[in-house]
Symmetry: C2
Subunit: 456 residues, 2 copies
């Protein structure tokens, strides 16, 4: 498997010279991403593609091929692999038209399966996006960069049965300033499956957290083993879709997956120490918190939330959401109140939520964060900064980030509002604090941190 | 009450010539908003403010004053009203420093209460933002326009006990292209309360839907009566915060409200036909759907959702969310399938969710919407458009909006993703279709439409 994540040579079969074509986008990406290995375009119709020498067939390539990308019609793939003279180690088959399309497609998959057994080639796909990897710089995702931004380097790895889900999620993460390590879209899993990926990611030093999108698993027992091992080393979260019979039927027509009984999956995830996510929003939130925030600390289980805001009503609403999610919002102890009262103007409410009011300043926010989160009273802070107060400046993000480093506990920002507010998100992202557009999402993110802790 | 929403004369007491000061922002807003009545700045220190003649006291103003805005220290307010010679009909008291600050503040509120009884003046506030009204063009919200965008005209009216909540919500709605009619932030409700506002809005032709943020109500029985009358005429939704004892305590320090037992509120809202919202996100979603989408139709109760997407995995995930929220995602009937199969390429899955795949076009989306939503099979459509497919163009929004008008049922768009995707939101908004950044929010919005129908 390792050669998929550390390839020296990549061939692209069906290499096209036409901008926008799948194979052309991939070749351009490999050139632009800074991929350090050798790229071999393969197409009998061209002498060169994007300035690279183009080979008439795999047989002409004078090297072993670590990763061979196929963006040709499904029925051609088995023949091309067979004719390669055994030099293909790993294949990424982008093309659809296999088992998700019915009888004939299933036959084709059978042929590929034989090849895996006979020739020892490993296959990712078919019907997938392949790999986007900021460590090796491999990028077989074929959406042009103007339509899908690529995230920068980070500690989060994602494995996804759905290509469009992976594309959408990493595009959103890129916009949110969250970096990734390895992203694998494995599609119909004729060979490489979620367990193979998890086994690799368990031991991968570049990966500090894993997020999974799955419709089905290939082998339940192996998955529980692989996921258990991985979740002992780093946070593993997963969204399982196709929970109802109707949705499961839709998943079948999507990747040919037998989604199975949801309750079985649910139990398997829990057993494996994998935090189950509830939908797309949760998935993005999990990527934000485990991709950027330090693990939650605190003796009493990580569920005690401190809320700091300059909008009283927003604070009360967040307290409600937290309670509904099983988190605690303990009042400030008299001891803490006495300790910190002197440091705040009289109009600030010394309570949880703490309301700094419309007279809030950057420094008051920083002080509120540090003075309440020091000591073992709270595990997670939610800071809801509304940008109405005129004294707030662009320094707020830096002030909060600096105090967050001192207190060494998760600090989740939320900043609901319109254009002015949204223009400030980049500041928070740049300072390394996860920022959520709504208070509800921040509360759900806090719950994810706590639930992850409960699992491990 | 009506003079608050149709004022001919507005005085601003404590009018400042300093940009950024509360009273100065309000005077500028009244000049910029196109307010057609007369504005009287009042301040003995100035001869003119922002080019308007400034009066030394209310006694010097030679007219009845429909709305008198107070942005002066709390303890000065009763004396100024008493000295006005009875010409003030309605007062908006922006200033805080009343019951929410304790004993002395409560005394001041008592004095104001006496004035209401004795002089017949009506009071909004204290401790509030007042009114933002696109019909009368009154705007006492004192956040400068660069920090808070004002929504354009629309059919949605909002009443809010929390000023910062109202500010944040309308700023977000402005960014989302949702218009409003009347927005009232009534704060500590020494006089005008939620029931007064509801009674006015019930009969207000400019208001087609009402959204409420409340921490408490002044008079439960009157609220149920007023809300019942209003909800018979138009959708009324409400978020009640301070559900837990801790959050209720925080609400008390915020607006001095006794938040009371949540279960009592919950029952009262249900009895009054008011759709209860679960948090800030729900509030914004409700504003989007009742502020723009037509009421759901369909014989069987409005819970049948059709999902159309070009991202198979996203569709399956939405089906899961819908089921979890009590909605139905019925499969396409064989009859419909037969009817429409010819109109779609073979790679499109004829199912619910319908997956148009990465080969989707604007026209395929439009065709899918019209052909599945015509007839009495589905009540609500969720269209999840991912922008990866290269054939999708900026026409998509117009195509969908045109088909939505034909089918005359709610069509909710969601378009998760990053920068490219977000750059397309404005197109959907401009075409009048509500757009949600995540599939989860679109599913929750569909549930709101259905639950609202169940209530009425």
């Amino acid at each position: 498997m390792d050669f998929f994540f550390n390839p020296k040579t990549v061939a692209v079969v069906g290499a096209s010279a036409t901008p926008g074509k799948i194979s052309n986008v991939i070749i351009r990406s490999l050139k632009d991403s800074g991929f350090a290995g050798t790229v071999y375009p393969v197409n009998p119709k061209h002498d060169s593609v994007e300035g690279l020498r183009c080979y008439p067939s795999l047989a002409e390539v004078d090297s072993e091929i670590d990763v061979c990308v196929f963006a040709v019609p499904a029925q051609l793939v088995p023949g091309i692999i067979e004719g390669s003279g055994g030099k293909v180690r790993g294949a990424i088959i982008i093309s659809g038209g296999f088992k998700e399309t019915g009888e004939e497609g299933r036959g084709l998959e059978g042929e590929l399966h034989e090849l895996v057994k006979k020739e020892g080639v490993r296959i990712i796909g078919p019907n997938c996006m392949g790999i986007y990897d900021t460590v090796s710089r491999l990028d077989t995702f074929f959406i042009p960069p103007d339509r899908m931004k690529r995230p920068g380097p980070g500690g989060l790895s994602i494995i996804s049965q759905s290509g469009s889900f992976a594309v959408t999620a990493i595009d959103e993460l890129a916009a949110e300033g969250i970096g990734v390590a390895r992203v694998v879209s494995y599609g119909n899993m004729i060979d490489v499956n979620e367990s193979d990926c998890l086994e690799f990611l368990s031991g991968d030093d570049s990966t500090r957290a894993v997020a999974i999108y799955m419709e089905s698993v290939s082998d339940g027992r192996r998955f529980v083993e692989a996921a258990s091992r991985c979740s002992k080393a780093k946070p593993v979260t997963a969204i399982k879709v196709g929970k109802t019979p109707e949705a499961a039927a839709a998943a079948r027509s999507h990747t040919g997956a037998m989604a199975g009984h949801y309750e079985v999956y649910r139990a398997a995830l829990r057993k494996a120490g994998v935090l189950e996510l509830d939908g797309y929003e949760d998935f993005i939130s999990a990527c934000k918190v485990f991709g950027s925030a330090p693990a939650t600390k605190g003796e009493r289980g990580g569920r005690r939330v401190m809320i700091i805001t300059d909008g009283g009503g927003m604070g009360v609403g967040i307290a409600d959401r937290c309670s509904a999610l099983g988190l605690e919002v303990p009042p400030l102890s008299d001891e803490v109140k006495e300790d910190i009262r002197w440091a705040f103007p009289p109009y600030c409410s010394m309570a949880n939520p703490m309301d700094l009011t419309g007279s809030a300043t950057d420094e008051l926010f920083g002080r509120a964060l540090e003075s309440t989160m020091t000591g073992d009273y709270y595990d997670i802070a939610i800071v809801a900064a509304l940008w109405g107060p005129p004294a707030l400046t662009d320094d707020l993000a830096g002030v909060l980030a600096q105090r967050a480093r001192i207190i060494d506990k998760p600090v989740l920002l939320c900043s609901p509002g319109g254009e002015f507010t949204r223009s400030k998100f980049a500041l928070f992202r740049a300072s390394g604090l996860p920022v959520f557009p709504s208070p509800d999402e921040a509360a759900r993110a806090a719950a994810l941190i706590w639930r992850r802790r409960e699992l491990s």
